[in-house]
């Protein structure tokens, strides 16, 4: 998100040679126009294309796709379900990530490097690999259920339902949350905590009344990022949901690659962008409220 913008330190500007700058920027601009701007604009126009029942496009235009997703109960439920599931995942990700980020923030030297390795290696590991790991853990004959039955406990249905999707996505999004929180923790001055403790606050009060409020901007950023990633993730819900969990992103893929109804897929994709707009709006308002 915003974290990927390059830092342009204020350097004394040399006399700008416009022609050279233009030449050097041509390749990247072309890639961005062909591979990003044009396809996205095209997507918008595609959502207004007319399709026959077979999925073939007639060449005419129509608002049928848009009518379908705002009136068909299946798509309304899909949208609501995606948003609610993603919100649950964000909350769980936050709870699981906060202690790790706090530990990282307070650690220095070699231990910090080790912790960063532990956080960043999963971040860069392919989603297919991590999802496969969760299948191995959650399957009926998988690690968790094998251990449960060895202990004489009843086994649990942990996969091919929304439980599996929530567990898997929570873990997969944790590194993003941890890194966002860590960036926000810069505001956390250990002397403020010490002052609170010296003045008689117990560790519990210090946590809720000092640490949490000061770290809210990082929490807001991490939550926005993880919500956006949860709504749009597709590999994990597809594999851990086993075709029984219907979310916006999995439906886009099915419409695009199985049903071949590209106008409807495009409309759903734009729906995701509208949800993002809403999330960004709430984030900016939250940021103003806590700043």
């Amino acid at each position: 998100m915003t974290a990927i913008a390059p830092t342009l330190e204020a350097a004394p500007a040399r006399r700008v040679k416009i022609p050279l700058a233009v030449i050097l920027l041509i390749p990247i601009t072309l890639i961005n126009l062909i591979g990003f701007v044009a396809p996205v604009i095209n997507l918008l126009s595609f959502s207004f294309r007319e399709v026959q029942a077979t999925g073939a496009m007639t060449g005419g235009s129509s608002i049928a796709s848009w009518v379908a997703i705002v009136t068909d109960p299946f798509y309304i439920e899909l949208l609501v379900n995606s948003i609610l599931t993603s919100l649950l995942i964000v909350v769980l990700t936050l709870v699981c990530s906060f202690p790790i980020a706090l530990l990282l923030h307070r650690t220095t030297g070699f231990a910090r490097t080790v912790l960063l390795f532990v956080v960043i290696t999963p971040l860069l590991t392919s989603a297919v690999v991590r999802t496969y790991g969760w299948i191995a853990l959650l399957l009926d004959g998988g690690v968790i259920n094998s251990l449960l039955s060895l202990a004489g406990l009843p086994t649990l249905k942990l996969i091919f339902n929304s439980t599996g999707v929530v567990i898997g996505l929570t873990e997969i999004l944790m590194p993003y949350m941890i890194l966002s929180l860590l960036a926000g923790f810069r505001r956390l001055d250990p002397r403020v905590e010490e002052a609170a403790l010296t003045l008689g606050a117990n560790p519990f009060q210090t946590f809720w009344r000092i640490i949490v409020p000061l770290t809210l901007p990082g929490v807001a950023l991490g939550s926005l990022l993880c919500f956006v990633l949860a709504v749009s993730s597709f590999i994990t819900p597809k594999l851990l949901g086993g075709g029984r969990v219907f979310l916006l992103a999995t439906e886009i893929y099915d419409q695009a690659m199985v049903t071949l109804n590209w106008p409807l897929a495009s409309t759903l994709a734009i729906m995701i962008l509208i949800v993002f707009g809403g999330a960004l709006f709430l984030y900016l308002r939250a940021l103003r409220a806590i700043a």
Partner: protein
């Protein structure tokens, strides 16, 4: 900053959460050495037969070579295109540099499912689906933002004095760039290459949309394999991919620094 003692509660809670974070990455290691024909835990015996099985699966091997060629070419082009862009944004600083920087990193803001669909629709029109060029173009869209970011950050922290000295002593601009600036950016170039390679090699969503019956990449083949059956072969490939990922993290740590690259 003086080290404050970290409370035992925080250590324990964070420890449990770290175990949760690492669980799926760690569990594939014992499973990859299973002697069973299906996924069972604990395995009834140990063997390396699933590692051998990878090399006997022509689909996986073909997909691996496609992924490798794609990742290498994507990396080279990311540097060739990203470096001039970073140079303009940081050193020449024409009007609107900030806006251009945002524009060049914008593709990362778009979820890959939306970008994948958008590219599918356009590439279908130009017959690029299921072609190497199609994969290459799609991968460049998402590796260039990383390249521009890491290279710009490095360039902006380089001391200007050495370049200025070379210029004062009469070196032409191009020779200053190749003989002074570029060698000083060695670390950032290595880090960018490692990241671009990994992002391309691991990319699955865009590749799923781009792949056709004749060409597909390793993550796409793994995805299809897992979709149909959960045997331990994918665990063996996963272990190899995790080793590759770890190597990339080590390279980035030693060159650009993990904190500077990932914690903003």
């Amino acid at each position: 900053m003086e080290d404050r003692p970290i409370s035992l509660t925080l250590r324990i809670v964070a420890g449990i959460m770290l175990l949760f974070l690492l669980a799926p990455v760690l569990i594939v290691v014992p499973i990859s050495f299973s002697a069973d024909t299906y996924m069972a835990f604990p395995p009834s015996g140990w063997s390396v037969k699933w590692y051998v099985a990878i090399f006997q699966d022509p689909k996986m091997i073909n997909a691996f070579w496609v992924s490798l060629a794609l990742a290498v070419l994507t990396t080279v082009l990311s540097l060739a295109i990203g470096l001039p862009a970073a140079y303009v944004l940081v050193r020449l600083r024409p009007r609107g540099s900030e806006a251009m920087a945002s524009f060049f990193t914008a593709p990362l803001l778009l979820p890959s499912i939306v970008l994948g669909l958008a590219l599918l629709v356009v590439f279908a029109t130009f017959g690029l689906l299921g072609t190497f060029q199609g994969f290459l173009a799609a991968h460049l869209v998402i590796t260039l933002p990383y390249a521009v970011r890491v290279l710009s950050t490095a360039l902006s922290t380089l001391p200007r004095a050495v370049e200025e000295a070379a210029t004062t002593l009469g070196a032409p601009p191009l020779s200053v760039f190749f003989r002074v600036t570029l060698p000083m950016m060695r670390n950032a170039i290595v880090a960018t290459s490692a990241l671009a390679f990994l992002v391309s090699f691991d990319e699955v969503v865009l590749s799923l949309f781009m792949s056709g019956p004749r060409i597909s990449t390793l993550p796409v083949e793994m995805y299809h394999h897992v979709e149909n059956e959960a045997d331990p072969m994918v665990a063996a490939i996963s272990v190899l991919l995790i080793v590759l990922t770890f190597a990339v993290v080590v390279v980035v740590d030693r060159t650009a620094g993990l904190s500077r690259t990932f914690v903003k």
